[in-house]
Symmetry: C2
Subunit: 339 residues, 2 copies
């Protein structure tokens, strides 16, 4: 028993292949009775369309690609989950790749996606290898940049939020409640405009208040619980330790929180801690983590809509700026009185 093609269905239904094709794809161009009969026949025969042939003839694949830094961080998984679900509703499938924060690998993976004929691509951040933009341009495939609102080439829509403003607000809040010695455990900046913007936000917030930000209060670490743990110990072992630590993401903050507990440092009474992402568990940590809520699911959904629109009509894809509110919870409080 060999593969069933559109011809087999056509023969069995007593119509032409074109009519079968139309019954399936352009239902209202075919007489209802015929269409019903064709569809029933296709079903009876267990016909499964050949996507390759379809894509070759119609010049679109119905697939969308996405490249994220990693799927191991739930914040990206959440975005991808939403993207996938929305694409599914549009009858599209999702091709996914992860770069591991490596620009070269990203370019290579993008090539792979493009060769598979994706009708659109979602990227995280605006900072990518030149090859990425070249490939995208020469393949003439719609792109959407997420997680940021700035830095994308002209014509590329962004669906994101303002990373810099978010940490700036965090700093304002900490200053308001009395902190002056604020440190930051930032994420890796190479190829990561979000991490860079978050640092800039802290710097900006401090500068606006006329507060100096000593070099040693700012370190760059991989996004991991272990790094957060180790770095908190470093910070708190300084002769003049910070009273508040801003972490580049929630993983770092969880590590810092655990290390503080281990060192017997009470959070928030003795030390304030903030995260970034608002993962599911942030609200359930003990104490509950003050953090910035990243609208991951919303970005995924809107990216899907944007790409589907761009693929069908030439619906001028507009950029969207989403909210990234500070979630004040229980890891922040005024600093202890100065001794």
């Amino acid at each position: 028993m060999k593969k069933i093609t559109i011809h087999d269905v056509a023969c069995a239904a007593g119509v032409s292949a074109a009519t079968v094709s139309r019954s399936l794809n352009l239902p209202d161009q075919v007489k209802p009775a015929v269409r019903a009969h064709v569809i029933a026949t296709a079903e009876r025969l267990g016909y499964l369309a050949d996507g390759a042939a379809r894509a070759l003839a119609s010049r679109r694949s119905g697939a969308v690609g996405a490249i994220v830094p990693t799927l191991d961080n739930p914040i990206f998984a959440t975005c991808i989950a939403a993207l996938q679900q929305r694409l599914d509703e549009h009858g599209r499938v999702l091709l996914i790749a992860s770069s591991g924060y490596d620009p070269a690998r990203e370019a290579r993976d993008l090539r792979g996606l493009l060769e598979r004929g994706v009708d659109g691509v979602m990227l995280v951040g605006a900072d990518h290898a030149a090859a990425v933009w070249h490939l995208l341009a020469s393949a003439r495939v719609p792109v959407v940049v997420t997680w940021t609102t700035t830095g994308a080439p002209p014509g590329v829509p962004c669906i994101g939020f303002d990373n810099q403003a978010a940490t700036r607000r965090l700093v304002s809040y900490l200053l308001d409640i009395g902190h002056r010695r604020i440190a930051m455990i930032a994420g890796p900046s190479p190829g990561n405009d979000r991490a860079t913007a978050r640092v800039a936000g802290v710097r900006e917030g401090l500068a606006r208040a006329g507060i100096d930000w000593p070099e040693e209060y700012r370190v760059e670490r991989p996004y991991s619980v272990a790094a957060g743990r180790a770095t908190l110990i470093e910070f708190m072992s300084m002769p003049r330790p910070p009273t508040a630590i801003i972490c580049g993401n929630d993983h770092l903050a969880f590590g810092a929180l655990a290390a503080a507990a281990g060192m017997g440092i009470r959070v928030p009474a003795e030390l304030s801690l903030t995260g970034f992402d608002d993962l599911d568990f942030a609200a359930h940590a003990t104490p509950a983590l003050t953090t910035v809520h990243v609208p991951a699911a919303a970005m995924g959904r809107q990216a899907a809509d944007c790409l589907v629109a761009a693929a069908s009509a030439r619906a001028g894809p507009a950029s969207v700026e989403l909210e990234a509110p500070v979630m004040l919870r229980d890891t922040t409080a005024p600093p202890p009185p100065i001794r």
Copy 2:
């Protein structure tokens, strides 16, 4: 400027299209000098192969599909991350779908993947709609079942672990340290053989010890932090509350942990709690969560290898049983003395 095809490259390089194709796909069937020249020309022209045409002619797409219940649970995201990475190393791409634990949606999504011509499919669990197995069989596509070692149709390899044995071991441990009133917050059983097996493991462990398991000590809840929270309150409000609660996954356990804290119940002194999955944060919860380690990344990696092997050779794909060790941490201890 239109799309560059293999013919353009052939012309520019002064060879035939066949030679270009071979230079790219079967490099050692072509004289090194010619090959080098062809590849350079392709590069210079910015040639990007058309996957649809390639797939149509060669009858394989280089894509693998995976359907997971949800990507929003990091345990599946971790598996997918590993699967994707390994496929990437093999030059394959990953098409991903999520069923939301809905068998009908799973069948529909599988159809979508199959129509896109995936060369293999990874499924979670062995309990699927009949349509799923039919589709797979008639499309003659290799499948691999993960997360379990039993229940798959003959000939379908499983790369998983023994869910039942895992919770049985958990129960043995709890019995050993003195617990007799053991409750369970199980996950939704419909279409979920893992959840069912985990309940069976608890039942078996208790039965082996000759201990009765009252109906009211076993409830089924959605896999969410909120459900864990609410259910713990229910359990602890019973006239005769359990001294230990086994949660169907870590999310439920986190919720239970938070609720216990809220109720002023000390864990593990007054109540023992266990999870299942061993998410990143399990080790960093306060107290650190005793749970079953699910080898999500290992399953993803091995599933990738299995599918790639099955697609190229007919390498009899073998089932693999992985370890799912109990991670004893700080949420379990002997029950309080009987008053």
